[in-house]
Assembly symmetry: C3
Homo-oligomer: 361 residues x 3
Amino acid sequence: MTDLPNVLTAPAAKPNLSVVRIPRAWYIACAAGELRGRPLAVTILGTPLVLFRGTEGRAAALLDRCAHRNVPLSLGKVEGERLQCAYHGWRFDGGGVCRAIPGLCGEAEGRGRRVPAYPVRELDGYVWVWMDPETEPDREPYRLGLDGKPGYATVHRRVVAPGTLHATVENALDVPHTAFLHAGLFRGAGEPNLIEATVRRFPDRVEADYQGEPRPEGLAGRILAPGGGVVRHWDRFILPSISEVEYAIGEDAHILVSAMATPVSDFETVLHAAVCFRLRIPTWLVRAVLTPIALRIFGQDARMLRHQRDTIRRFGGEQYVSTDIDILGGPIWRLLKEAERGELPPADAPPEVLRTVSLRV
Amino acid sequence: MTDLPNVLTAPAAKPNLSVVRIPRAWYIACAAGELRGRPLAVTILGTPLVLFRGTEGRAAALLDRCAHRNVPLSLGKVEGERLQCAYHGWRFDGGGVCRAIPGLCGEAEGRGRRVPAYPVRELDGYVWVWMDPETEPDREPYRLGLDGKPGYATVHRRVVAPGTLHATVENALDVPHTAFLHAGLFRGAGEPNLIEATVRRFPDRVEADYQGEPRPEGLAGRILAPGGGVVRHWDRFILPSISEVEYAIGEDAHILVSAMATPVSDFETVLHAAVCFRLRIPTWLVRAVLTPIALRIFGQDARMLRHQRDTIRRFGGEQYVSTDIDILGGPIWRLLKEAERGELPPADAPPEVLRTVSLRV
Amino acid sequence: MTDLPNVLTAPAAKPNLSVVRIPRAWYIACAAGELRGRPLAVTILGTPLVLFRGTEGRAAALLDRCAHRNVPLSLGKVEGERLQCAYHGWRFDGGGVCRAIPGLCGEAEGRGRRVPAYPVRELDGYVWVWMDPETEPDREPYRLGLDGKPGYATVHRRVVAPGTLHATVENALDVPHTAFLHAGLFRGAGEPNLIEATVRRFPDRVEADYQGEPRPEGLAGRILAPGGGVVRHWDRFILPSISEVEYAIGEDAHILVSAMATPVSDFETVLHAAVCFRLRIPTWLVRAVLTPIALRIFGQDARMLRHQRDTIRRFGGEQYVSTDIDILGGPIWRLLKEAERGELPPADAPPEVLRTVSLRV
């Protein structure tokens, strides 16, 4: 009643809003090491959760709201295998069942006194949560395929992307901006080359397979593969929120960046990145040199995502135009919408080539 | 248009929102001593008021908005018996009538130039306001029955509770949380005892009468009644917003805590607390020892109320479950709703025993 | 979904909301000197614009949103005659046409890739923007008629008024409050005099012509015309957002204050003030003495406007009452509404005397 909606005198084609919400899916709630003796408040898909780990070590996730008087359970503390509310001391087990009510003469348990509990998996150093407390998971979380393999090392990082899930994932897998926004850090240092990408759709993913790409001439490229060699490069989006960038350069260099996105809310996304690599240069050197470059690159991306999000919200939605070289944004959006509507093809459906694209990078 | 409403994937039973608005009632606007030569801005039930006291000492309350150009009158100053707007200098008397307009050649008065005026009473050191400017009060404000009686002393305090009126009053009269949240300060220091409460409904109030209660073993209890003795204890809610906790312990100790709530807005409540007591220990000692304990207890409560309120707003309402030992929350809610709808029983209706409850504290 | 609307128990006559939006009009975006080598973000009528000046010096104004991925173009930089987006490097010319897309093998241009462009004029040291990108301007911006004339000097100032366009303009042209709010600075120092104003409506403006006014006895008046003399005084509002206050005192003193308002959003207005004057005292002295007085006067006005706006928003609109001496507020409002609806009289319609008013100042 206070503010009128803005009149934006720009030509007012009806905007889209690239927000999806896919609760029947696994998302990372936290790194396993973050969850110790104290309850941890985490928001996923706008839903406040409390995670806790009983004295036997099992992680659990409940809705972060006591059934009694709606105080967040994350204000409380862990007592044995139970989480105790800070206000009246009600105790809940990992399944959300109320096991004790101080002062009450009768039974503590009771259907109405339950708190919704979310399925949890602990894998590859992450705590994953299935965001629908009403269904049993019909699949398992994404795995880091190269983590722990002989010759491979893994680096983990958590960053916050101020954008929708779709905007964040499109950015993570977008090639053209790397030659411009990150010029000199990754691509964009030498003369542009004409390369070709084949885009393939699988039931739960989409992949761009790049041919004719030289070793990236930016700083990162020269460090990763000082000897050069034939480059193979794939970018993948895997439902509901995983992006993979994989490079194989010559015989020695293999690197797979998995960015596992957790939609905190419609307009904020957390990325848990795991970089698995086998390189000729020592692991400590890779960490020391590449981590600041990677964080600088992400800082530049985060600035764009934040301004993009603020503009989208200000205009009440997006009005994008795309070209041929916006390779994965469109297919990712269609996968997300199919998943949201529950209309994905069967898991054994054959892959399909969507198109091939030329671009100069 | 910017944010989508949150999808909270918790089972979505329709929530309640325990907000009531009862304008035909008296609320404390301020302590009498706060209102001196300058106008005072106060918000009650979301309505901005300006209080002022003319040179003859009479307090008045107007809507805090000049009839002319809608500037807050509280920016102005008191001139004799009138309040003068800071913008164009219009002057209003305590009844809201415009008495002077600088520069105007004609008459200042005029029906359309009035500002709504609210009935005011000054009693027991408080300025009370009747929050409906359209009706005459049909009753007088709540009085402090023990204030000024021989042998009694009174301590006053004002605190801000970040919660709805209902949540704040339920908290003030809730026994079980005192043994848990405030453990050691009031109750919860020794072994729990089985006690019994009889709940009685009167036309404008509800009372819990406790039997079999030992002296509270916490710090406060041992100070209040070092000699012990038979304990009598009543908790009362009196419409529209008063809670009383009364203890009589043995021959010597008598204490009545009146918390008079003013709903600032739907989700913020101010409590004016008056503690009237007759104890064996000297008044200065009671003040010196009990004030910090009372403020610590209230600080713990305020933290719970704030988180409870934030959770309720985040979920768009409450989803409470109650047990037998949530003694007064339900009856208070029903009284508030009856008062809001104007459906209270006649003042001479007989009291009614609602139920008796056992609890361990 | 979180807060209930406030119940304001004041008598609830339906409030008005004096907000107008007139996009087919010129507004000042910035001073010419503010626009140099870097793009400049400006908001007018709630619409984010980016202004830039190519290397040939021509100013241009585009919607501040890249057609590609909706990042603000004001994050980018000027390359020759083009503005380059910071995210993927798309380049737009001053007409909003996309001229280059890094990485793309095909044509850059394309209808869908245009960004809305707004007509621009650079006049009297200001950059003016026509706020409808869909139409050609059917008139030219307001001009400073006395700027640069022999014997005249001009002082420029930019201030932010926290109020609607209407409230800001009414304040700028309101006489009675000057004797009260600014008492001693401008008017209000001596005994009030009875003066008379004739109000005339022209097709695109309204004017109050004051007769019988003595020299203002406040500090500013005594500085402007130390010798006194016959006073002529006109206050004018010129569509869409210009206010003029003109004084001619005796033979020597002539001063014209033009306050050119830019509605940033519904509740915030920027004023570009230009004071053109011919006085007996030296220009440097006028600046040195009058600037702090003028800023003090504006600071007092801004405080009133901010509180007025906050009260209006809190109550969901205005409930004004006006008297005879609120001379121009009503006629200005009617002009603004006519302009918003596109119902102005023809430019050659004869002027009309609306009324004459007596007031004491």
